[in-house]
Symmetry: C2
Subunit: 240 residues, 2 copies
Amino acid sequence: MDPGEGDGDTLRFCTTCAFGEVCLPGGYDKRALQELHCLVEHVGPFRAGDFLFRSGERFESIYAVRAGTVKTATIDEEGREQILGFHLPGEMIGLSAIHPARYPCDAIALDTVYLCRFSFPALSTLATRMPGIQQQLFRLLSADIGKAALLAGDYNANERMAAFLILFADRLAARGFSATRFRLSMSRGDIASYLRLAPETVSRILRRFRDDGLIRVDERDIELLQVDGLRQLGRCVLNH
Amino acid sequence: MDPGEGDGDTLRFCTTCAFGEVCLPGGYDKRALQELHCLVEHVGPFRAGDFLFRSGERFESIYAVRAGTVKTATIDEEGREQILGFHLPGEMIGLSAIHPARYPCDAIALDTVYLCRFSFPALSTLATRMPGIQQQLFRLLSADIGKAALLAGDYNANERMAAFLILFADRLAARGFSATRFRLSMSRGDIASYLRLAPETVSRILRRFRDDGLIRVDERDIELLQVDGLRQLGRCVLNH
DNA sequence: CGGCGGCTTGAAGGACGTCAAGATTAGTGG
DNA sequence: CCACTAATCTTGACGTCCTTCAAGCCGCCG
């Protein structure tokens, strides 16, 4: 399946996109929809390890992931990488760059990635004419503020790991994938960095979860055996 | 000085507000400015400990702090309070509530607080007609995403504390207050909760900073003696 | 005066990180 | 298809930073 140039099934991807509800014909005035579709530029494929943008580059566009997984990360003064987030199909990247007008992080493909690119100046101009788009942008921005919760909170390694698995599964489920069996597209090191843990700790906790019958692990393939148990472990993180 | 009902010097407060640049006459069309001023409702005073809004309440308004300090916090399942942020005069509160349409946290006055209240529906309607306001909202929202960095990063207690002091001083300076001498309006416990440390750790680190000649401490009064030294300590946090 | 909450200080314990060594896998070229 | 190397992952032993527990101090207010 190649979502690249052919674009026969644009619609198929738009149904999973964060902008789907405004992009797709849903009682919306046809001409305005056309304007939004004109504004979208399909880019990709990117291969694992490719940079979509780099920290410090001038901000121009936000992106929606059409296929694949993207990680965003910063390198601090001491050269340590800190993962800020993972972005699945249908999710947006780049919203935090509006204010400083420069990307505050690197965006790196974890596998084969296709994107929709939205010129932000064009989008915000369009938003003044289409309140639905403005609302959607406000919602997306606001939601991103809340998403920092997982990292920001004062939680231990078990809570973080359990919440990570549950949230990852929920996000996959929201896009129509299986919520109990999935493949992690990122390395243990990336997960560790994201959760602010050592890679060894991630390894040990996954092992403990496995020994406790909460999950099945085969390399990067995960099966959630006791979703409720995990949800209980991560409840402090999950309830905001 | 009472910024309450009299309102003789609305202008005085607006100069320090996050919306100042759009609210204040600055080449902007007079009628539109009037509309924004009509939309603003001055509320307060609140006393230390008063709730401005509570977690779970229906989202209707965002607020700008006119005077005083506000903390935002959540109580997790185990009853532990987690401080999400401190809000100084000129800063906004409530932006993270747009998406779930409910306030995700409590907002509590730390001292005597006066606010400007903006009805969000009215504001976003106005924003479709005034691109400057839309831009400003996008910027404010985007900036808030980045502000999670202090908490989110994998930093030790020294780095966190140093960065906290520097950022606090910078924010005061941006509003025209002294950048080297100030009074902390929050308790050690609040600082600790905000930095995800134990209160005892905050105490010990302040003592160490004092012994090292970096700061002077007299209860909640702080004087920064070696700003560069502190900035150096917190450099990983401060550079995003 | 006495009680209370916030703050400080010391001592002990724990959760997680660091270090080091293997194990397993992936990538590469023959 | 199979070596060979590099990268990722796992596991154990040990160290450390921070928390927890406990006690004492100080300012505030009834």
